[in-house]
């Protein structure tokens, strides 16, 4: 017999942050956030909602209402696989996938994501790989991700790696850009400066 646990569920307004919704609405794709009628089409069309602790619809509602901490702590935003099903099905044309991106960015910015969750790491790995070579090498990246999050996995997937190698679908040598690499770096740096110059949203 597990003993009865109780948690305080009530939310006091001071625990919420109404500006959170406004920020999200101000990011590209977030413009229609407040038009949501909570019909749940997103949740039911979402192929991964089965594993989400909050359905996408709830994420929208909570975002609007300022449940910042709960939203950023939720696994939902990380489970979103960017299949855009919700976005095209939404009767009020909310771009839910883009909103999920916005939330991921916020979570990473505020460093509030589950440590063992590989996705943010993947994103970062990806970023650095691209910075280095201008291209990504899935094999490598995935390996590094697992290395950081769950090293055992590497072993469990060694077989697959070999199969890929044998069929020439994974190479030891890194794919590199054929030139223009500096230009790409310059571009990315310039984005920084240009963005800094701009009045922040």
């Amino acid at each position: 017999m597990s003993e009865l646990k109780i948690v305080r569920r009530i939310k006091y307004q001071q625990e919420l942050d109404l500006s959170f919704g406004k920020d999200v609405a101000a990011t590209p794709g977030g413009e229609d956030l407040y038009k949501c009628i909570q019909c749940g089409t997103c949740s039911s069309t979402c192929p991964v909602s089965v594993y989400m602790d909050q359905t996408p619809r709830r994420i929208i509602a909570m975002t609007r209402a300022g449940f910042k901490d709960d939203v950023l702590a939720s696994n939902t935003i990380w489970l979103c696989s960017s299949c855009y099903a919700c976005t095209v099905e939404c009767p009020k044309s909310l771009r839910i996938t883009d909103i999920m991106y916005a939330l991921k960015q916020k979570a990473i910015a505020e460093k509030v994501y589950p440590r063992n969750l590989p996705i943010p790491v993947l994103a970062k790995e990806f970023f650095s790989a691209v910075m280095k070579t201008g291209r990504s090498n899935e094999g490598r990246i995935v390996a590094r991700v697992w290395l950081k999050t769950n090293p055992l996995k590497i072993l469990s997937h060694a077989g697959l790696g070999l199969k890929l190698l044998r069929r020439g679908r994974m190479s030891i040598k890194t794919e590199r850009m054929t030139g223009g690499h500096d230009q790409m770096r310059r571009l990315l740096d310039a984005v920084e400066t240009a963005r800094a110059a701009q009045p922040t949203r």
């Binding site: 009628i37 019909c39 749940g40 089409t41 949740s43 039911s44 069309t45 909602s49 099905e89 009767p91």
Partner: protein
Amino acid sequence: MIMEKKSPQEELRIGVYVCHCGANIASKVDVESTRDFAAKLPHVTVARDYKFACSDPGQELIQKDIKELGLNRVVVASCSPQLHEKTFRNACADVGLSPFYVQMANIREHVSWVTEDPELATRKAKSLVAAAVRRLAFAAPLETKRVPVHPDVLIVGGGIAGIHASLILANAGRKVFLVEREPTIGGHMAQFDKTFPTMDCAACILTPKMSDVKNHPNIMMWTYSEVEEVAGFTGNFKVTVRRKARYIKEELCVGCNDCVEACVLKKDRVQVPDEFNVGLSRRKAVYMPFPQSTPACVVIDPEQCLQLMKGKCAQTCVEACERAAIDFDQSDEIVEIDVGAIIIATGYKPFEARRIAEYGYGKFANVYTTLEIERLVNASGPTGGELRLRDGTTPKVAGVIHCVGSRDRRYNPYCSNVCCMGALKMAHLIKERTGAEVFNFYVDMRTAFKGYEEFYDQILSEGVQFVRGRVAEVTDWAMTDEEKGKLVIRVEDTLVGVARRIPVDMVVLAIGLEPQADAGEIQRKFNISCSNEGFFLERHPKLGPVSTFTDGIFLAGACQGPKDIPETVAQAGAAAAEALCLVDKGFVEIEPNTAWIDEEVCSGCKTCIPLCPFKAISRDEEKRIAVINEALCKGCGTCVAACPSGAAQQNLFTDEQIYEEIEGVLSYA
């Protein structure tokens, strides 16, 4: 120079009245400073601000000033002239000032309601007032013309709206032309089985009214007919109607259906879906739309009849008809009628469910629309009232999906108003006829009128399962064995907060209401406006719900927006009353904004003649100049803008008045 030439002899004494409209104007526009600004303008004798200029005390204030201060011009800075110009004109006329010495400045719709910054709003208001004051200098004391009104009324559309309006007018002793494009009147209501919330049978309450229409001495019921052209103006419309060939002598046919029996086309071989049963059954080339069709008269479909298509057929129908009512030589007939008022009651078009691929209508056999179910449960329907799936089995589980094609930016952004109640009715009927488990999937439940919430209560207590959530998909791939061979409804149960998959045998789509496919054409024919979604636009959402921007043309029923039967009937009554008060008044007053030619100046260059769409301009061969027939002129001013001599002028909109307005607004922009 023009100014010296035309400026008025009498000394101008202008009164300016700045309305607060409660807080509507005053909250944005600084009415006091606008008043003071006006007071300093040339020729302004008095300037006042007032809480509600349109109120009786407000009007009395103006009248008092006219009498005591001898005002001879009045500017009212308030709302749109579309709203209150008449009010203030009448107020002035009552104390003997020409109504056309009144000028309005629209500082509400065009200023306070659309401007954020109070300072800029005030500035804008001032410039509009300045313009109005200057414009008045060139106002003329015009005469409004009275034109007699033709007493008859045309009603377009023979659905419940048209039927109800016709009867009211006919009972009031008016002659009514009821034009319906289908072979019978009755419209969508005739297709329904039951009507919410009372669940009385549609036919039982509709068909008596239909035969009243048929038998009423004052009603010309023209079915299978369409309006071709509309000319003229309020009180005096000239309407051309095409009476399509029915190939049946209407006066002879008694609707015995012998010819239908006789028709050589084998029912199953005929490829025409029966319109009345929305394609759930098939009909022959000669057919009676439905048993209580009014008129009780068959019609021959020229697209199907061998005789009419190929010119050769045994003509078994002709033999079968004892009254020799069949006439293959009939041809369309064009009739012209004169009417004083027109009521448009052209109804709606059901949403085309195929457009939402996710719901699988047309792909999965057992996905139906509400309209199809109405027919299936109807005793005179294709299954004689048996609610069966296409394979003949009875559904054990059914899902009714609300908001199909409504409240959705991709299809129709608006709420179709009737679907919630319709869907509840469906749930009830399905349960009643099959005892099936019924799920209703709704986004928001809208049961807002008399007796509706009670109906919802009843359906709830009948044990219908309500899931709050918009269905994402009706699909046929199974996750569990239970789902195999069923239709699976994917939805989030938003009240629980989890996604669900619900297998059902039958899906019913509560389709929304759309404007008729040819609404745009009708709109042009009758010269009225459409709102964004394509329904006809009422003159004012609150104060002119059945009027249009074209005087003498009124709206009834779903052609103006989604409506259920009670609302439609109520509106039909209102439209009938409006039409009645127009034709009973016997005359209309025409805004004297007609154009005229200054003989001194016209060189007879003929430029204006072809520009008039109403053929009001002709050449006076005596004087060798153009002349405008005031009776025909509608006052658009196109000829005026084109006259290269400035000889053509338009009352209420002379060149001087407009130049003054230009300078006026700019003098304080």
